[in-house]
Amino acid sequence: MAAVRVEEVLAAAEEQEAEKRRSVTVEKELELEFDLGNLLALDRNPPPAAGLRGAGPRREALLRALARDNTQLLVARLWELPAERAGGPGGPLAARLPEPAFRLPREKPPPRPRPPTRWEQFARLKGIRRRKRTSLVWDEQAREWRRRWGYRRAGGDPARAWLAEVPEGADPQEDQFARLRREKRERVARNELNRLRNLARAHRAGTAVPAAPLHPTGHQSREELARVTRVARVSTASLGRFQPRLPKEPAEPPSRGGGGRKRRFEPLLGNLAAERSRQLELLRDMGSKKPVLDITRAVNKQLRQEEAEAAAAKGKKQSQRGKRGRRQQRAGRSSKKSGARRQQQQQRPAGGGTGGSRKKKA
């Protein structure tokens, strides 16, 4: 009797053991997505809605089974990561996690690089580099290494300095201690002012207010005033061309690019020969039966230019095309220009003709 029961017990125990060592594989319809850096697993499979509807232990059991499967998959992935023994051999096994892949919003915006201060600009210009200072200085009087500043500094406590020499050329009645104190106060104030100015410059650069109104208290910088006067000048109907200038104000420098291609005008009574040839060419084009614009040639050039642009957008380097490409591009562009100019010239003679006749009458 006892033997049978023992056998039963042993069989039951063995079955339990076998169950424990069941496979660690899990079957899923859709593969899970993993982000091991965050220890995250995303399961896209729709969960069994029917089972989860009824409240109670059955739902809990279903949820737990689902969780167990998903956790098994996640742990399997984590175990595949390269692992090493942390803290030397015999330490705990630690897996090296990859960077978290799931994009989460930041807490604060990324820090903006601040513009260099006036000293930093100067130092960069001159090539001055920062020298690392030693923290201790040799004090000759005390014959030991003392701090550069602070408690028990080298050179003695400045508050206890009992002697202040009168420098040459100074008023003998002047209080030297008062002078030293005043100068220190001035230095500190100047330093603070410069720091605030650097800060204001950085702040302005950061916000970059383009049309900033004038500062209400009147403390404008020179550049800001110049900018605002320029803007005010140009906001007239004739774009500032006939605004009177102050006696010592510099004249407006000729605008960049030669005043733009469209605002360039030839002088009225200049080159008579050029004007004559231009008018004759105009009449010739008007009289000829051949169309000025060769449609097929223009279309081909346009197509070729579009192809060239597409290729450039893909990231091909300019040098690859070499001389041929450059010649093609320039040729294409010039012919396009001439075609457009010819079209314009066709329209202009309508006005030119009447203008010419008006002139004759006058």
């Binding site: 995250l40 697993a41 499979n45 742990v75 604060k108």
Partner: protein
């Protein structure tokens, strides 16, 4: 710190400000757990349990604050600025919205996203009489259900929950210490949050078999109102500075078989003077002053 108009006068103040200024690699997000004007027992218990889960990176406010986050966010933003917390959980209760929980996050101390969830069922940490895992364990997060991908609000909720429960970002993790798992299931308009303790059992192979034990807070949630950030604000908050992008290593290419190739540029070599294996039979004798042939070295392409 650079933009401070008042410079800190002590080192401690300077460290305090440096901790709070925007950085390239950010700190772990802190969460603030706030009670509303009329928070009942359930909601208070929920807040206490979540605080226990998020322990070093959370602040639990004891007093009740009479605010309505969906109408006026200034109070929340003030708290966020004072305690430097960018995640918050606000619990309240009234007849219209019983057992209400508002989970949200901030960007630059302004509210980014807020989602209101209703608690239908709650099982607390102390109701479940099992052993718990140590405080500050990094939890494994699992989201089940296609709703988390299909619906925009659920997607934001998923992102919020990951942000909330993620914990500190670590380079490596002790495999035996993976004890805690938070499982979220979205089905039929409800979200079930369950926390389990993971037991790693022996299995035939290297990967252990997982057995789960119910532990910790479990919540049945239903989504109510949402206040999501506009697309461009959200995109702005996702923007990472360029310096954090991993630098691509140049000159490395792979072929179909997995071999890695790189290129080395050598100067012109005199093949006659190359050092190769010494073959005794081919050793030049002092008498022979003819052209030496000391073994031609075949050119190999380097492979790893």
């Amino acid at each position: 710190l650079i933009y401070c108009y008042r410079k800190p006068k002590t080192k401690r103040a300077k460290r305090f400000l440096e901790k709070r200024e925007p950085k390239l690699k950010e700190n772990t997000k802190n969460a603030m757990l706030i009670k509303g004007g009329n928070a009942n027992l359930t909601v208070t218990e929920v807040l206490k349990d979540i605080y226990a889960v998020k322990k070093p990176f959370a602040v639990l406010y004891k007093k009740k604050n009479i605010t309505r986050p969906f109408e006026d966010q200034t109070s929340l933003e003030f708290f966020s600025k004072k305690s430097d917390c960018s995640l918050f959980l606000f619990g309240s209760h009234n007849k219209k919205r019983p057992n209400n929980l508002i989970i949200g996050r901030m960007f630059d101390y302004h509210v980014l996203d807020m989602i209101e969830l209703g608690i239908e069922k709650f099982v607390s940490l102390k109701d479940v009489k099992n052993s718990k895992c140590p405080e500050g364990t990094k939890p494994m997060l699992i989201f089940a259900g296609d709703m988390f991908d299909v619906n925009e609000e659920y997607r934001r909720l998923k992102s919020l929950l990951i942000d909330f429960f993620r914990g500190p970002s670590v380079p490596s993790i002790r495999l035996a210490g993976l004890e805690y798992v938070l499982h979220f299931t979205a089905v039929e308009g409800k979200i079930y949050m369950r926390s389990y303790k993971v037991l790693l059992k022996k299995s035939g192979c290297k990967i252990p078999r997982i057995e789960l034990e119910e532990m910790g807070p479990s919540l049945d949630l239903v989504m109510r109102r949402t206040h999501l950030a506009s697309d461009d604000l959200y995109k702005l908050s996702l923007k990472q500075p360029k310096a954090l992008k991993p630098k691509k290593k140049k000159n490395i290419s792979h072929d179909v078989f997995g071999t890695t190739y790189g290129r080395i540029h050598m100067q012109k070599q005199d093949l006659g003077k190359l050092q190769t294996r010494k073959m005794k039979g081919l050793k030049k004798r002092p008498a022979e002053k003819s052209a030496e042939d000391g073994g031609v070295s075949p050119k190999k392409s380097k492979s790893a």
